[in-house]
């Protein structure tokens, strides 16, 4: 079981991810924007964070950069979950420090597999 922070401003997507990951036995902390994700990561010390790219206020890319600059979050795996599927967008995500990239619309099964794979790699 892992502790996972999920940040997405779309309540449906957030709840879908929470439902799927809780079903898989994970402890999930849902938040609605990038700033809240950074705060939740500081407070919860998660094993993984899933960030939507386009969010109000602090974007997922900015949140990923902030997490990468924080020494206490060293090695925290980041998965970007986004509707922006162009190659340049994916590149930007990896440059910001993402470990994996899932494009919306998404398959919940694929999400669960990617989460397992990223967690396995980080342990």
């Amino acid at each position: 079981m892992a502790r996972i922070v999920i940040a997405d401003d779309d309540a449906d997507i957030r709840e879908l991810v929470v439902f799927k990951l809780r079903h898989g036995g994970h402890d999930v902390v849902p938040v609605g924007d990038g700033a809240a994700a950074v705060e939740a990561c500081s407070a919860e010390k998660p094993d993984l964070v899933i960030l939507d790219v386009m969010m109000p206020g602090m974007s997922g890319l900015d949140a990923a950069r902030a997490l990468r600059q924080d020494a206490s979050m060293d090695g925290l795996p980041i998965i970007m979950l986004t509707a922006r599927a162009q190659e340049s967008d994916i590149e930007q995500g990896f440059e910001a420090g993402a470990d994996d990239y899932i494009v919306k619309p998404f398959s919940p099964r694929e999400l669960a597999s990617r989460v397992s794979a990223v967690l396995a790699r980080s342990r």
Partner: protein
């Protein structure tokens, strides 16, 4: 003759009645207001609770294990009346967010409830709002046999219906929609962004049809409606389109020629470098700027000298783009840029220094 004291009594009596009347009316209005508000909150809570129940069942169908999924499916299938409308509405709202087996599960559920026939009826409705809803639902169900029906709806007199239909055709993923969509762009430039989104959503299957439209149309006409085709071939990074896009750089339509340059840059094909270098000499500034940007994106130093010539030209848009392209070529490009006296060369190097690169 009435006494003045009698008039005063009458006035006081009338005032008192008026005051009591107002007080009673205020209390009644207050009570009505409280009751209406309480009822509204009660109904809102009931609706929210019902929506939560439906959502929980949808989640069970989409993501639960076999037993959960069967229970969710049965609960959603059993809904009748208003509850059935709620189920359909929530399932349709969920569909754009999912793909794969989960999406197929929900589409199967809607089909079993007769959503296809209802969507077709909506598309034929006299109300434009209903036609929008019908087009959206047909697109979400992804039933490609109804592509011709949606293509007919592209001629609807209401802009919003045409817009929703363009997006619905994109969601269906059938390349037969490519030509009608491009044709619509010619008559309705306000839909260009939606067209690009829809054509991109059709995915790589649409690329052969887009290429063949470009090849056919570029031999005649003013290429007015071809910009989205070029843009989408670039977004799809469609390598077999390089030749036809390179040909498009010479189009008499500057907007289309610029779109071809942008697409070649996105594809990043080195075989387009000679055509793009030639386009740096084009008389139209937007084509020169597009070619410079594309050469920077491809990142080959072969065109560096030609880009440097363009940095020193007078058109700010072109000079700035060429300077940026030289930065993107790496240390060699930056060294060449340092020899230029153009203010845009200085600007590009300063920006690069701020971003943390070498100036």
């Amino acid at each position: 003759m009435a006494s003045p004291l009698g008039d005063v009594d009458g006035f006081l009596w009338f005032s008192w009645v008026l005051l009591v009347g107002f007080a009673v009316l205020s209390v009644v209005l207050l009570v009505v207001l409280v009751v209406v508000r309480a009822l509204r909150d009660l109904f809102a809570r009931r609706r929210a609770r019902a929506a939560d129940e439906v959502r929980a069942h949808i989640f069970e169908v989409v993501m639960g294990e076999d037993d959960d999924a069967a229970r969710g499916r049965a609960a959603l299938a059993a809904a009748r009346g208003r509850a059935a409308d709620r189920v359909e509405q929530q399932v349709f709202e969920m569909l754009p967010k999912l793909r794969g087996e989960s999406r197929a599960e929900l589409v199967g559920l809607l089909m079993a409830r007769g959503a296809e026939q209802r969507a077709l009826a909506l598309v034929g409705s006299r109300s434009s709002v209903r036609r929008c809803r019908g087009a959206f639902q047909l697109g979400m169900l992804g039933l490609t046999q109804h592509v011709p029906r949606l293509v007919r709806l592209l001629r609807d007199r209401h802009f919003l219906v045409r817009r929703v239909t363009v997006r619905a055709l994109g969601a269906m993923g059938d390349p037969r929609a490519v030509r009608p969509l491009l044709l619509l762009g010619e008559h309705d430039p306000r839909l260009t962004r939606d067209l690009v989104f829809a054509l991109d959503r059709l995915g790589p299957d649409a690329a052969p049809e887009l290429r063949s439209v470009l090849l056919e149309e570029m031999t005649h006409g003013d290429h007015l409606h071809l910009d989205p085709a070029a843009v989408v071939l670039g977004l799809l990074a469609d390598r077999p389109s390089v030749d036809v896009l390179a040909q498009g750089l010479g189009s008499p339509n500057p907007s289309f020629a610029g779109a071809c340059a942008e697409a070649l840059g996105r594809i990043g094909a080195p075989e387009a470098i000679p055509a793009l270098t030639e386009a740096l000499l084009d008389l139209r500034p937007n084509v020169r700027a597009g070619a410079a940007h594309a050469l920077g994106s491809i990142g080959s130093s072969v065109a560096a000298a030609s880009l440097l010539d363009v940095v020193d030209e007078e058109e700010p848009q072109v000079s700035r783009q060429a300077a940026q392209a030289l930065i993107e070529l790496g240390p060699g490009g930056r060294r060449m840029l340092a020899t230029s006296s153009s203010p845009y060369a200085v600007e590009a190097m300063a920006l690069e220094a701020i971003r943390g690169g070498r100036s």
